[in-house]
Symmetry: C2
Subunit: 133 residues, 2 copies
Amino acid sequence: MTSTQESAEDRHLPYDVFAKACPSRGTLEHVTGRWGGLTLGALSEGSLRFNELRRRVDGVSEKMLSQTLHALERDGLVLREAQPTNPPRVDYELTPLGHEVAQRLLALIRVLEGGMDDVLAARERYDETRGAR
Amino acid sequence: MTSTQESAEDRHLPYDVFAKACPSRGTLEHVTGRWGGLTLGALSEGSLRFNELRRRVDGVSEKMLSQTLHALERDGLVLREAQPTNPPRVDYELTPLGHEVAQRLLALIRVLEGGMDDVLAARERYDETRGAR
DNA sequence: CTGTATCCGATCGGATACTG
DNA sequence: CAGTATCCGATCGGATACAG
């Protein structure tokens, strides 16, 4: 097999995200889903409470944040710590693996933010050529 | 603003993915969308034709691959080169920015693949505690 | 081979209301 | 404060058929 995909099999790992049935795909989707990446990014510098997170991740609804946090918690990327106080206080923080993931995610985001001028220029060219389609 | 988000504003960039209206969010979603990341990853080692890509990105449909490629091309991450031959031959390859993005993406994927044993264990614990729920 | 067009069910995700 | 429950429109995305 003349591999050009220096991925899982070349590194002798049991998981290959390029394979349809691999469980790593599900986690990748949680991490890179609409709110997953921003949530992990927001938690990368320390724990935050539910509504702090909501404000930080601009635009997320309660429902989606709750859903996102559950998925990340289940995957072992986020830790949920509920204080038995009144009013309730719940802190969310990254696990070690969550931190690693968040670091990579933030590196990606930085590249994207840094390249947005190129992206915007490319879009204009594309829309011109294809005449707004 | 006591920033704990060492992101765009701290680096004096005009784009901040955490802001709802920032155009970088759209690009992040193209890149991290269901097929965007896998497509960029598949192209990271060289150009591929349409159906080569389809086989590489296991599970993607024609429609979704086409849509994904258009979005990535418009954002200036992928270059489309159509040969005027018969039968038609179209090569897709990464732009320089596309390569940078793909590198970050692959780094993320590697962390995820490498951490899947932890992830799977965390899931079992979660599902036990919360009783399948 | 490289796509586009259409149909249509599944899922996403926002708004709102409500609970502890 | 920290969520859950429900409604419901928008979008996603697969299957299929068709086109250059």
